[in-house]
């Protein structure tokens, strides 16, 4: 079992300040740095004495927490989600026509796919159009095949 010796309050306060100063830096680097500086302080206190004078000297050698934080790597910024896109009348009309004019579903399927790939208009509406058109096209194909099979029988 590892026994971590109690550190002078001055040093504990410094480590807490350091942890706060490292907010916004790479989380792994932050944890590594605080743990390693704690170890450094323990070793250095054994060398200089665990009294207030020793603690001040150790902290003086470690330097201001701001200097340490300035050396740390900033935390990676999460990639922004792809924007939904502006709702354009074409997208609304396409989605409505995919239902109302179902015999023309293949046309709407291709049209919505082209707009989606080009990155224009509203992505959500384009996906709705693609889904509705695809269902209609598949249902149409199934009906035609079923009809042909029944005639052949």
């Amino acid at each position: 079992m590892t026994i971590t010796p109690e550190l002078p309050p001055l040093v504990e306060a410094y480590l807490a300040d350091l942890d706060r100063a490292l907010a916004g830096t790479d989380p792994r680097e932050r944890a590594d740095t605080v743990a390693a500086v704690r170890e450094h302080a323990v070793e250095s206190l054994a060398r200089h004495g665990r009294n207030d004078d020793g603690a001040r000297r150790v902290l003086g050698e470690l330097g201001p927490v701001e200097h340490i934080a300035a050396e740390a790597t900033p935390a990676p910024v999460a990639a922004p989600a792809a924007p939904a896109g502006k709702v354009e009348p074409t997208d609304v009309v396409l989605a409505a026509l995919a239902v109302l004019l179902w015999p023309l579903a293949p046309v709407f399927l291709v049209w919505a796919t082209v707009r989606l790939r080009a990155g224009v208009g509203n992505r959500a509406l384009q996906w709705v159009t693609i889904a509705l058109s695809a269902v209609t096209v598949v249902a149409g194909v199934v009906l035609v095949v079923t009809h042909l099979l029944s005639r052949a029988a």
Partner: protein, 111 residues
């Protein structure tokens, strides 16, 4: 604006000090305070001893050093840093490049 010596040093340290750390580990593994001693407490390589640790974390994540916990007589186990083969190769590349770079800088500055 005329830069202060501190600003110039900060710029010069970037991309250099990690290789000095690797060079200090060539002679054998070392724990944090020992490594700070090897780098020199009065040297211009570190702003202060504490600034060594974010750098050590980075070179460890790059695979240039590994760490091992070794029991210590004065407190919790010591984290020993040891240079890896990849770290040695990185240092060799840096040394070859650094030699040419410093020669060019000196030649230009003294011309």
């Amino acid at each position: 604006m005329v830069p202060t010596p501190d600003i110039v040093l900060t710029q010069l340290r970037k991309g250099v000090v990690e290789y000095c750390v690797l060079a200090c580990l060539r002679s054998g593994p070392a724990y944090g305070l020992e490594l700070a001693d090897r780098l020199g407490s009065d040297s211009s390589l570190l702003t202060s001893e504490g600034t060594l640790y974010p750098l050590l974390s980075r070179v460890r994540q790059q695979g240039w050093v590994t760490t091992t916990q070794v029991p210590s007589a004065v407190g919790p186990p010591r984290r020993y840093y040891e240079i890896t083969d990849e770290g040695r190769a990185a240092l060799e590349t840096f040394l070859a490049t650094w030699s040419r770079f410093t020669t060019d800088v000196r030649t230009t500055l003294e011309s």
